[in-house]
Symmetry: C2
Subunit: 654 residues, 2 copies
Amino acid sequence: MLDITKYIKMELSGQEFCGENFHTNPDIDKLSTEEKKEIISKIKPHLTPEAIVLAQVDPIVGDIEYNFNKAKKYIEWANELKVGAIAFPELFLFGYPVFDIIDRYPKLVEKNIEYLEKLAKCTGKTKVLIGFCEFNRFYIGKRYFNSVAVLSNKKIETIIRKTLLPVYSEFNDARYFQSAEFDSKERIIEIGKMRAGIVICEENWADKDFFDHPVYSFDPVDKIIKEQNPDIIINCSSSPTRAKKEQLLHNMLSFVSKKYETPIAYVNQTGAVDNITFQGASRLYSAKGEIMARAKSFEEQFFIVQPNPKPSCSKDINCIYTLPQGLEKTLNSQKAFSLDYEPDLERTYLTITSSIRDYFHKNGFKRAVLGVSGGLDSSVSCVLLADALKSENVFAVSMPSSITSEQSKSDAQELCANLGVNFTEIPIFDMFKAARSTFDGVFEKVETRWQDRFKASLTNDNIQARSRAMILWGISNEFPNTMPIATSDKSELYMGYATINGDMSGGFAPIADVTKTKLFALARWLNKNRLQRNAIPEAVLIKPPGAELAIDPKTGKPLLAEDALMPYEFLDEVIWRLENLHQSKEEMLCETFLYEEKNNISKATKIAWLDKFFRRMQTALFKWSIMPPAPIVDARSINKTEYNQPITSKLKFY
Amino acid sequence: MLDITKYIKMELSGQEFCGENFHTNPDIDKLSTEEKKEIISKIKPHLTPEAIVLAQVDPIVGDIEYNFNKAKKYIEWANELKVGAIAFPELFLFGYPVFDIIDRYPKLVEKNIEYLEKLAKCTGKTKVLIGFCEFNRFYIGKRYFNSVAVLSNKKIETIIRKTLLPVYSEFNDARYFQSAEFDSKERIIEIGKMRAGIVICEENWADKDFFDHPVYSFDPVDKIIKEQNPDIIINCSSSPTRAKKEQLLHNMLSFVSKKYETPIAYVNQTGAVDNITFQGASRLYSAKGEIMARAKSFEEQFFIVQPNPKPSCSKDINCIYTLPQGLEKTLNSQKAFSLDYEPDLERTYLTITSSIRDYFHKNGFKRAVLGVSGGLDSSVSCVLLADALKSENVFAVSMPSSITSEQSKSDAQELCANLGVNFTEIPIFDMFKAARSTFDGVFEKVETRWQDRFKASLTNDNIQARSRAMILWGISNEFPNTMPIATSDKSELYMGYATINGDMSGGFAPIADVTKTKLFALARWLNKNRLQRNAIPEAVLIKPPGAELAIDPKTGKPLLAEDALMPYEFLDEVIWRLENLHQSKEEMLCETFLYEEKNNISKATKIAWLDKFFRRMQTALFKWSIMPPAPIVDARSINKTEYNQPITSKLKFY
């Protein structure tokens, strides 16, 4: 496992933003002949035969034809510009991540081979590096290779097969692919006068000087450079985004290029698949470890880089697009828990919105329907949906019960008015009443056999949450291409403070990997940074969270979440320590929490909170297992794509 | 991937059943001193110093103390009997499967080391082989080893580390463990005068003569035997059950022992964890490949075997317990689809019931509540629950709507009376009415913005299914340790013919990996083979399946499932071909289905059914992702523990 808490101190350099470059538009086929001519005349003089296009594209998994057509368009345009090479992301032709599809649908793999051959026919002098899934024709081993084909002059010139296969977190390469025998000679291709060494994604992540605890004993980059002395390393990647990854990636690539005095060109895909989102941000490092070019984040791009640009080099080549705001500042952060989420908020916003957009559009959905309670979770979810799908495609439903306050109702309404999303209010009194009376009939009968009925239960709370989900699923049954949204957040999922078939039910869960304290920060950030300021009413931001499902007998007011659980600042630090430092309960007891620095709490209280956390988490495991897809946002998560735990597991947290 | 459709023709030998042997009772601590003495005097004379106990035990993942105590009890008894060795399953001390627990809770791994040292202190002359999770103290690689410690005379004698790490299906070893360097010398331990070579689970599955397409280029067994010439191979396994696995395991172990003229002793765990069930059935093969002993299936057992028994050897040693009925007959089956499920029904029954039992008990649940409709799915589920948990712990609720027939209601009631499970009937009219009128209010408002409301929808069907699930979850909120049950079957899950938050919602889904035609066979088998005959009313077995959620406008009667989908016989063969032969739509079109042999269908109909299958399956992927835990029963499944597919995947089924 990569130790992503370790960062080398190295500044991200070159924060120059070069604006919108016409030629980097991926919709090349929409250009007129006139426009194409203009671009060619503008750029061509600056190109060397060593220019490389980093094709930052968004595939659809298993839709070989779609991916083929996208690649073809890019390749044709690269040929017209007469660049030396164009590099696509890892496994682009099949679409990544493959998961178990390639096992069950070998026909699809045949198709990707067929289309690879078709694609070869479309090539000219420009060399094409394209990831695809290859059959393993050898007698022994897994059935496939994770390969990159090099195409040119209408032929498949050579094939490079991945040797280092990651199996951790969301990665599962060794499940499907045979690790290829490594021969550094086979990794070298010529681009103009330049000899380039090709590696595939993980193969760049094995430097023994960079990582404290390397996973692999073999380092392909080291081998290629020592044996072949190439002029550049080209890395074809499909590498998902998460908190802190940008810094790690930058530090690592910068370190390796500097160490070997060899430039590195890195191409990464964009878009999202279920829980996994790709940032793009393809790039080029110089032999000194400086960033020379960086593509946009979270967008497709046809991106030209030149390892050794002419002195006259146009600004259209080797652009440096800025990263999402703030990412540069966090090089040494997250060694301690902090409530300063600012540096990661724009990336968080872009991760979630592109994830929503791709999940909806690639699956044929257009509209979202969600419950708005006037609380933080549903308010932030509503903003993210409106931005990802456009306001007219969002229907927000306020579903008050007898406990819902007037303030909550008006906050929900105000939010929706601000955002321009569709809004309606429908009380759930009748559904509650009918359920309650039916339940009473059943419970009475059950009680004749099982006499230990609870004195107090969550039944009423849950009727409300489940009636609301029923309404949302009803709308999705009744209107085309409409998906209900689950609005649970990460802090509450850890505590199991979410209702099965209620607020945690939906087709997608946009904020399930965002803790409550970070959500507050994100809400304020949205209010400040979106074009339309202050969409979320201030009242939402200052009221203490509470589900408004039950009345606190002590106060006569709705029960507050922090009373039922513990202060969110404390809770979120427990989560952070568990996910990032893997601390046990005992270890946490010995550490001073940020919350403790500001508030006086007794040791007994701290023990009680920690006990409650681990006890409730154990019973929450089942809920994690039935969560709908949710974008991975944090450095670590409970998202089942990357974290797996048996429900049946007595974890005694020493 | 192991090719489990290939079987070598070899008869399972020795179907001798040796009855209940007192000494094989795992509750050793419940024996009186008198009883112990009697057993010792009865067995000891027959024991050689090479006798081995196969400790067929059921661990709890992460509950190190529980596993330790169980191991300690077995070891003490083995010492009293003065056997040569006792072998526990793979990773027993930590509990298997580990999944990601060992990454996030390193403290638990420390604990398993601590308890290993404690356990060593309890040992005497009898050698103890016990699986545990070991820290990798080397600089490079994954953080852990999957190891077996050899303990004796109060010490850890040596440690054996697994080299072959499976990553396919439900196996994920390489995700967590470092593959150990292999040294055949280190694999040898002495038991009496016998030199035993130790392998861990997968390391026995690499024979190049047995498998058509071996996964591994390296075969540890071959290496140990060629370099060390041991007298026996001992295999410590944790290997889950599934259809056809018993035959494969038997063929493989028999083949390998015969090939090398070396006996193999194989110990396997029992019990279940979430989706995975272990059969136990530990065993011994002779150097001729004959089965010499086989422990019980699906039960814990203290099981003594002797590779070279004395001529006088007691029947209490080297027992052969029969396998679940019929398994021996299926050596060459399943090369073609067949409706003859008979040979796998007892194993299916035992897999599901032990899976239910372990899931409930290990997670602190005692009671199940389910909806009974008088249909096949809920009827079979009800029987399985009653048998696994005892009738008094099952509450069956009949929840008729206006569509439910009198026959359905009385069938449900009759079933429950037969089983002696608790039963009540509560109509959902009121809930339906309240939901419908609330929905009408919402839909009207939504329609003002989204004008493309469906003319016909599944809304009414789903209100019924969701109201029912709400009642079941309500009961689980109101009564302690009560879990609602999802009754979806495999055929309908493939078609997405299951309602989210409705019939597919629950804490556990017992029959989610059983197809409809197999369920019919299982129902008839239950009626014939359970002590209490014909618990399922004949009417349930002869009526055509239908959800009774909507009226067919053509007939005026409830819509039948086969009309909405396609004949189950055809559907189940599509599933079988997809899972076992990985056939594409085109390939299936060219094959003759069993259904076609008996019924005349046009090519157009076949195309339409196949189209419908693949189209509906694509939209069902989301439902698979939010299914509750369900025991893996079939040779292949859509259970997310072993099969992973991105929802966002345009599979064009050529």
